[in-house]
């Protein structure tokens, strides 16, 4: 298959994650295995308690599995120290959160520069240039010096996406990235994600909203810490078309 020739970005092997709550052990993930290749747009679905947040934390190298191994871009993560994972996140991962998490009273371009400030190999001029390019990629070229509190939710989320793009990550992890937005803006953001995916970006979108799955190329569904479905979507809907079909705003 042509798909198999694409580089493997993420590989999870029999991942288990246990938490101790008091005297009990909670098995949040009970042996999860899958791999994601370059250029995929994967939706990870599940109700609350299904383990999708735990999986997201593991995928984002914010947490390490109790058992099993996780390879990010070929690098085994489980035995890494906290600082090593911080550097790995800085170079390989772009996060997009539900509540944007922009720095308050800070301009768009400064927010987007932030990951590069923690990368000493990027100089001042390059930092600014890359931040501006990322903002252009998300269509905010005329909002660069607006402060985060002067922007709408959709614009703020675009800034957050630009921030996730600026370090040129191998994967973009979106956690309910449209959860705080109205339907129209949600589709604008989805359109942006689809466009980035078309440009070759690998995207994982964690959500409990089944509608999102229609717009991604693959859906992994979790329940009770196990994958119950891993389905390739051959008929990806276009968010741009849905958006165009929506009644115009008053």
């Amino acid at each position: 298959m042509a798909q198999d020739q694409r580089a493997e970005i993420i590989r999870m092997e029999r991942i288990r994650r246990d938490f101790r709550v008091g005297s009990e052990t909670v098995h949040a993930l009970r042996g999860v295995s899958f791999s994601i290749r370059e250029g995929e747009f994967v939706t990870i679905m599940g109700t609350s308690g299904s383990g999708k947040s735990t999986l997201l934390n593991l995928l984002g190298c914010l947490d390490v599995p109790t058992a099993g191994e996780y390879y990010l871009d070929g690098i085994p993560v489980r035995r890494m120290s906290g600082n090593e994972r911080a550097t790995l996140r800085n170079r390989k991962i772009g996060f997009v959160f539900q509540s944007y998490n922009l720095l308050p009273k800070t301009t768009a371009v400064e927010n987007v520069e932030l990951p590069l400030l923690y990368n000493s190999t990027v100089g001042r001029a390059e930092r600014r240039a890359r931040a501006e390019r990322a903002l252009r990629d998300v269509g905010l070229q005329d909002r660069m010096n607006h402060r985060s509190n002067q922007m709408s939710g959709g614009q703020q989320q675009r800034v957050a996406i630009a921030r996730a793009l600026v370090n040129d990550p191998v994967i973009i992890l979106a956690d309910e990235a449209t959860g705080n937005l109205d339907t129209r803006t949600s589709f604008e953001i989805l359109t942006l994600f689809q466009r980035l995916n078309a440009m070759g970006r690998t995207i994982i979108f964690v959500t409990h909203n089944p509608e999102i799955a229609l717009y991604s190329s693959r859906t992994i569904t979790l329940r009770d810490g196990r994958i119950i479905e891993d389905r390739i979507n051959t008929d990806v809907a276009s968010a741009a078309e849905t958006l165009a079909a929506m009644p115009p705003e008053e």
Binding site: N57, G60, L62, D63, G82, N83, A86, T87, R89, N90, R91, F95, F97, N101, L103, P104, K105, T106, E110, L114, P115, L117, Y118, N119, S120, R163, N167
Partner: protein
């Protein structure tokens, strides 16, 4: 990650909360400016007193009969132990003294026509003017011949001069009366300032015989050849006088010798202690300011938990977070220190000008202030910063 980036991050974080920054700084500003003011004022006051004493002659040594010996007050006889022979022995034998003068004092009213003024009379030899740093303004000083013949001549201080001759006429050649004894004014003294201008100097023989009716001396004034020679001169004086008074080894002196250098030293140490105490009190306000920083940094860490989580998720290591918060608190305290130093220097300049003290620029005080501010920033910023750096990024991101 380089340090410049961290400073950049800290500055951005601070600039988004300017009002809070300024209020936090206020504690440090008040602390530093009061420490600086105290230290500057202390130094200037010291200098002012030092120059006043130097005006009296830093080489000055005063010999008096001992007032107390072994806890018992001296008897009248004890107070008469300084003799003219002692003065002569000092004058002839001493190697470290530039000049020596016997002193017999008297006080009373000086009268000229309808004018009169209280005056203190110093009976001495002509060298007394040199010892006490007086200079002749008008006329001339009387001489050794006047001492030998116990002449009724005097030189008078500028205050006496203006009191007795309010019309501005020259007193030289005029005869004033002192306790009914007519004395001829041969010279006037230049103004010295302070309480030093109501003096009348006469030959000691005149005061002994015609006014006080005594044969002993009240004191002997001497002047060391140099300020450095003061200590040696004091030892020498003691040796000569013990021999003169035939005091056995192991017995106490029946006189006391005081040098200005010693007085200056003890005064300096008293002033130093005072400055230290005041600076310490001011320093307490600096500590209070530091606690203010700690308080605000704590609130800031809690308030910015999500921001910390975000920074960690995009690649900040825990030491970056630690350093960021430390740098923030050091910037606050150092900026407060800079403003405080400027305020303190301004304030003390103003007070010093009002008090007419000499202005001494105390670089040490400024250095200390900055050092203390940095230490304060690190010390009080450390705990909140460590708290921030130990947050778990997952929990921090979900913090509401």
């Amino acid at each position: 990650m380089n340090f410049a980036n961290l400073i950049h991050i800290a500055l951005r974080a601070l600039s988004s909360n300017k009002m809070r920054c300024l209020l936090t700084m206020l504690g440090i500003i008040i602390g530093v400016s009061s420490v600086i003011t105290m230290m500057f004022l202390g130094e200037s006051q010291k200098q002012s007193i030092r120059s006043e004493i130097s005006g009296m002659g830093t080489n000055l040594i005063i010999i008096q009969p001992a007032w107390e010996r072994g806890g018992v007050r001296a008897s009248a006889a004890d107070l008469q132990r300084l003799r003219v022979a002692d003065f002569e022995a000092l004058r002839n034998q001493s190697a470290y003294l530039r000049s020596v003068s016997p002193v017999v004092s008297a006080s009373g009213q000086a009268i000229m026509g309808a004018n009169n003024t209280p005056a203190s009379i110093t009976g001495c030899v002509a060298q007394q003017l040199d010892i006490e740093n007086y200079t002749i303004e008008d006329g001339s000083m009387w001489g050794d011949a006047d001492v030998r013949s116990a002449s009724k001549v005097c030189v008078i201080g500028s205050e006496i001069c203006s009191k007795l001759f309010p019309d501005g006429s020259s007193p030289v050649g005029q005869t004033i009366r002192f306790n009914a004894i007519p004395v001829k004014v041969v010279g006037t003294l230049k103004e010295k300032g302070g309480d030093n201008d109501d003096r009348i100097f006469m030959p000691y023989t005149t005061v002994q015989r015609r006014m006080a009716g005594i044969r002993h001396l009240n004191a002997i004034y001497a002047s060391a050849a140099t300020e450095e020679a003061s200590t040696a001169a004091v030892a020498e004086i003691k040796e000569i006088l013990r021999e003169q008074h035939r005091i056995h080894q192991g017995d106490e002196d029946d006189f006391q010798v005081m040098s200005m250098t010693e007085m200056l030293e003890s005064l300096n140490s008293i002033l130093g202690i005072m400055t230290l105490i005041l600076s310490c009190i001011a320093g307490i306000s600096l500590v209070v300011g530091g606690i203010g920083i700690m308080n605000i940094m704590y609130v800031s860490v809690t308030e910015r938990t999500r921001e910390i989580g975000l920074r960690m998720s995009i690649g900040a290591k825990s030491r970056h977070i630690l350093l960021q918060f430390l740098i923030e608190s050091v910037i606050i305290s150092l900026a407060g220190g800079i403003i405080g130093v400027m305020l303190g220097v301004g304030l003390s300049t103003l007070i010093i000008r009002l008090l007419d003290y000499p202005f001494i620029f105390n670089g040490f005080a400024i250095f200390i202030s900055f050092a203390v501010c940095t230490v304060t920033g690190v010390f009080f910023g450390w705990y909140p910063a460590r708290k921030a750096s130990r947050l778990n990024p997952i929990d921090a991101l979900r913090y509401e």
